[in-house]
């Protein structure tokens, strides 16, 4: 078939609508949606050519298709969790050192502020790179929407970045006392903002419909907070400040590693249902999380035995960094796997862990009357579609 074949000719301008602009006008709501010929999503639906479900071993589903959409975030987001956590934790450590560090902690404070502002800038870069439309990154600051953790996070990250920048400049450049004092105040403020910065990412994941994230909503924020601390500790291991700062950072990191390992174990417990917890054990996510725990454990052990040798300190820092990175990539991968499995959502909600959980514990604000569907005891009632 040569170029004369209109289909062949048209495939060059293949936008999925196949409309001749001289005959038809394209001004509809989605006429601006750019589209190429083959589409990944359809491939996913197609390649699982459903063999007839012999018998619903795992309970009813729609040809086994996922009920949720997989999170669309790419590698930049877990990387941002790392840099964001690092910046936040450094901010906190710097402020703490400033407050309670006594003398000789200035190198630590300066290094923390440098890492903080560097981490913040790197975070902004990574977040903008992951956007579908990076040019519209400023839209993140369009509204103040308390129900959106990402919106809150953006405000926190922006102000944290500004403040840690303001704190870092006087520390790095020769500047007058007044400027240095202002820098210290900004440093304290940055430390205060570092706290939510390092934790909100956990809440961001919890605020999704992905079963494993939603179920582990209490552990995730703490896990991410301490991951941030580990990142900071490990970074400062790799780039130790002079004076007592190094020891402070090392202790900070060590305890954080222990907490991170404990919290990542707690993830599995809080997930509860085997079906919900399965992504944390199986596949890439499982491997990453197990690897993270091993790396962090190793880093902690190296911390305990290193006694002043720079090689061991660098090893500990590297292991710590790798461990906390692996943990974050593991949590993301677990989320993707969990979203792909419809039975996670179904079994979870059938067991009363959906909306019923709120109405049963009476936690929800008053506006939610007791449901006529799944009653408070978690057993399904007839009206709500359960077949007697």
């Amino acid at each position: 078939m040569d170029a004369m074949d209109p289909l062949r000719r048209a495939s060059t301008l293949r936008d999925g609508r196949n409309v001749d602009p001289q005959v038809g006008r394209l001004t509809g709501e989605a006429s601006g949606q750019r589209a190429a010929a083959a589409l990944a999503r359809a491939d996913r639906a197609a390649e699982r050519t459903a063999s007839l479900p012999e018998e619903e071993v795992e309970g009813p589903s729609y040809h086994g298709l996922p009920v949720l959409k997989e999170p669309v975030w790419r590698w930049m987001i877990p990387a941002y969790f790392y840099t964001g956590g690092l910046a936040g934790a450094c901010g906190v450590l710097g402020a703490a050192a400033q407050l309670a560090g006594g003398r000789g902690t200035f190198p630590l404070v300066r290094r923390c502020r440098t890492l903080a502002v560097g981490g913040a800038v790197a975070s902004a870069g990574l977040l903008i790179a992951d956007l579908g439309r990076p040019a519209r990154f400023i839209a993140m600051m369009r509204v103040f929407r308390p129900t959106s953790p990402m919106n809150m996070g953006t405000w926190v990250l922006a102000s944290f970045g500004a403040l840690s920048g303001a704190a870092a400049l006087p520390a790095l450049l020769p500047s007058s006392r007044a400027l240095r004092r202002a820098g210290d105040a900004a440093g304290l403020a940055a430390g205060a903002l570092g706290l939510p910065l390092v934790g909100y990412t956990g809440v961001l994941l919890a605020n999704t419909a992905v079963p494993v994230w939603q179920e582990t909503r209490n552990t995730l924020p703490m896990l991410f907070a301490f991951s941030g601390a580990v990142s900071a500790g490990a970074a400062l291991d790799l780039w130790p400040p002079a004076g007592p700062g190094a020891e402070m950072a090392q202790r900070f990191g060590l305890v954080a590693k222990g907490a991170e390992i404990a919290l990542s174990r707690a993830l599995h417990r809080e997930a509860g249902f085997e079906r919900v917890e399965r992504p944390l054990r199986r596949g890439a996510a499982g491997a990453l999380l197990r690897g993270a725990r091993i790396l962090l454990g190793a880093s902690a052990v190296v911390d305990l035995v290193r006694r002043r040798s720079p090689a061991l300190r660098i090893a500990s820092g590297a292991l710590g960094t790798l461990g906390t990175l692996a943990l974050r990539f593991g949590v993301l991968a677990a989320g993707r796997a969990s979203a792909r499995d419809p039975h996670a959502t179904f079994e979870l909600q059938r067991a009363g862990r959906g909306a019923a959980e709120l109405t049963r514990k009476g936690e929800a604000p008053g506006r939610m009357p007791a449901p006529s569907g799944i009653d408070a005891t978690g057993e399904e009632s007839v009206e709500h579609g359960a077949i007697p």
């Binding site: 005959v23 369009r142 509204v143």
Partner: protein, 195 residues
């Protein structure tokens, strides 16, 4: 770089002014959203048409703007369809404005490997000559074949030219086709009624 929203347009400013703490509603709306109108509102004219697919005969409204079709949807006044359409009827916009439609007269010479483009008028002349030539060569005033049952009966017809097609055509088109072919003596005229 998108232009920075002027302060008064900045939704957060609008939220503060209107005391909207949640930022979920009108304060977050962009200017385009507020002025949104259906594209048919700005159409030059609406033409009443009938779906070209099956024989139910659902009514269709064709919206036109700048001599191009903007939208084709159901005609709520039609007693047959009351504005409804089936998937094919709903896809009529892509049928009539699709890039799959060939827009040039193509010609394939005997033994040729590719299509060639030729002007419409010349193609019509060539077809007219061929119709006349084939018709005159194979015209039978009477049945010559001795073996046939009605040998010698007057037939005044040709079996050298045949026609196929008509169920997707208008009545007026079918009328002129049948009128012309019968005058030429072409009897092998058929259409989808008998596929």
């Amino acid at each position: 770089m998108p232009k920075l929203p002027v302060l008064s347009e900045w939704p957060v400013a609008r939220q503060l002014v209107s005391g909207d703490t949640s930022g979920l509603g009108a304060s977050a709306m962009s200017e385009r959203t507020r002025e949104l109108v259906p594209r048919t509102a700005s159409a030059d004219r609406v033409v009443r048409s009938i779906c070209p697919y099956c024989a139910v005969g659902c009514g269709q409204l064709v919206y036109v703007k700048d001599e191009r079709i903007v939208d084709i949807e159901g005609d709520p006044d039609s007693p047959m369809s009351q504005g409804c359409l089936c998937p094919k009827g709903a896809a009529t916009f892509q049928l009539v404005t699709g890039s799959h439609r060939e827009q040039h007269v193509l010609y394939r010479r005997p033994g040729g490997r590719e299509w060639e483009r030729i002007p419409l008028a010349r193609a019509m002349d060539m077809v007219a000559e061929r119709v006349k030539r084939s018709r005159d060569e194979t015209f039978e005033e009477r049945i010559e074949d001795p073996g046939a049952k009605h040998h010698g009966a007057r037939v005044r017809r040709t079996l050298g030219v045949a026609h196929l097609g008509g169920a997707t055509l208008d009545n007026e088109e079918n009328y002129l086709l049948k009128k012309l072919y019968t005058a030429l003596g072409v009897v092998q005229v058929e259409n989808q009624a008998r596929i």
